[in-house]
Symmetry: none
DNA sequence: AATGAATGAGCCTTCATTCAT
DNA sequence: AATGAATGAAGGCTCATTCAT
């Protein structure tokens, strides 16, 4: 007897479902998945506990949707940037823009990245979602930069490497802030690294 | 009435405490912190549930010690490498060694890094431990490389950046393995990046 | 504010109420009372959840009506048989007919008997309905057989006993089917028992 | 990760497990399986909710054990009677004893029979337990009576039929008590039926 | 010091019933 | 009359922590 999960078509219902997802997004972000319970999510979304299970199979199902939302939020601005990219352009200039973009994306989605990424290790489904996102992003950007003649060889590897570098830098920048580090210098190092990656050979 | 936590001096007790920490290490590594319970830890350690609370204030306290253990395991081989470093040496050679070292360290401590790092965001204490480790490592290595005349300016920033790059690469290398990526090429990119970082200017 | 329960007069409403009762009948029959929920009943009946409470006070109220329906289904063919009974007749012949009738009635209403009878013990209302049915049936049959001069003394006791025997046999026959039992022989035993009951003294 | 269920060896633990089973027995008996919750069981047993799951996998598991207990209680006195049976004996005398025995067994285990039997229809496991019990009982008694030369042909069918008759009579006698029935006469009918079953041919 | 049974708060989920439309 | 989304109390179960021995 498979319970039916509402697949909301009407505006009000979609809104409610989204409110639950956003509540999950916020709470997972603030306290992590395991420190958030369904009552909190419902309360934050302004709905009753019961109705949550009208829209989601279980708590994990909320997580899935939150993950998707996160992916979209992170992916979109970056893809937009590359879509609107017109040759010729200054490499360093592009890199700077990207760095700032990733930092701000990371900042706005503070916490959720950690909360989700942490589940990657124990949850195959979330892991697959993450890997899928990286795949898509890498391939799209590599393709775009190849077409623009910016990258020739090893485009995918370079793009992926660049993404890793950006990711970890953004995280560092937003969260860790070690006292003895001059983050302007750090940022320059990152930028240089990416520029030389693009201009290689 | 502050409960007394044993600070074990006797061999047998120390051993028992260590067995608990190791059990925690393994289990957190395998299943994550929230999917591990104290009964499992005690069983794996070969001790009773009750005695766990003779050595640790609470479950979080085990986590703290596991984190410390992790730090030591990861830190030691790297520090050893730098300690035994004698000038003159070939930069690329050194970088290659380090890359391999970090990969193997990451591989051996598979899982635990994720499990711990994930808690960083919701747990200030763990976060502080992580940051503290990075601080120590960065400063020591930066100092060493400065003394060896390998790095001059911005030593700390460079070292920290290098560590980030290595970390994320190792993780990528061990876990994610995207199909379309040629990891030999990826590795070369990383190596090049680090070499040029050191040889800068 | 006593909620008003519709006492449907119009054809469409009566139909709807009956569809709910039948849905309950089927579902209780298939899965038992406690494993059936009101949403399932409404869905099976092709009505909305809400309207169920327009026709029934609560879930138990559906049960009451289902019980009545069951009683009717089981009672009618038996009463018909006795109504159409004309003396003289062969006792054994009559008994055989009845046995077959009860078996088929039990088979057709598979499940619901169990589902309902089980509630008898914890639910006084259902219990009363069951007892009421047995009373009515017993008295009518006893009366009929007395008039036909088939039974003289202890008619009610005999009829009731016969009903019990038939009931438990039918149940056995339909459900339990133990491997080592030859049910033709079993049936003969039952028939003999009933025949001798009627022909007693 | 299969949770370990304590298999209690020590007296105190066995006692506790038994107290839980007995609490289940009583409560299922009084209110049925679905109207009894684990908190009630724990409270009645004088233990905490949690420990219930130290002895039982889940609520259903308690049901299983309650069922076994019931079977034993019902089976034992009857088997004892037949074990101590020595030829020659008066058939009617034996039947009377049995009837009284079954009535008292049914009375003492008031309610639980219904509560359990009701689950038979929706729960294959309980069903199997019930059928298994009937099998065992039937075969043992049939065997005993055959050895004693009391029954010759169709022993199993006769015994099973007798058990059904006794069962339904006992239930009638204990619970339903229809006003217009003279239960002494009823009892005589049952006795006669069984006697003639035994003395058949 | 050590054991492991015991505690009970808290979590996820279901479902009879209500209510806005 | 009718809909079906919404409510929230209650149930089964887990697990960090305590306690009798």
């Amino acid at each position: 007897m498979p319970k039916t999960i509402r697949n909301p078509q009407q505006e009000r219902s979609i809104d409610k479902k989204n409110r639950i997802i956003n509540a999950g997004y916020e709470l997972f972000s603030e306290n992590g998945y395991y420190n958030t319970n369904t009552v909190q999510i419902a309360k934050r979304a302004g709905v009753s506990t019961g109705i949550v299970y009208g829209y989601f199979r279980d708590k994990k199902d909320i997580l899935r949707e939150v993950t998707s939302l996160y992916m979209e939020k992170v992916t979109k601005p970056i893809l937009n940037l590359f879509d609107s990219l017109e040759a010729p352009f200054d490499t360093r200039d592009l890199v700077c823009k990207i760095v700032d973009l990733v930092i701000s994306a990371h900042g706005e989605n503070a916490g959720i990245h950690e909360a989700l990424h942490s589940l990657t290790h124990t949850d195959p489904e979330i892991s697959a979602q993450f890997i899928g996102l990286e795949d898509e992003l890498t391939l799209k950007i590599a393709d775009r930069l190849t077409r623009l003649n910016v990258l020739k060889e090893d485009a995918k590897e370079k793009v992926h490497f660049a993404m890793d570098v950006l990711q970890s830098f953004a995280h560092e920048y937003i969260y860790d802030h070690h006292e003895y580090i001059d983050y302007d210098i750090f940022k320059t190092l990152v930028t240089d690294c990416l520029v030389s990656l693009i201009d290689k050979k």
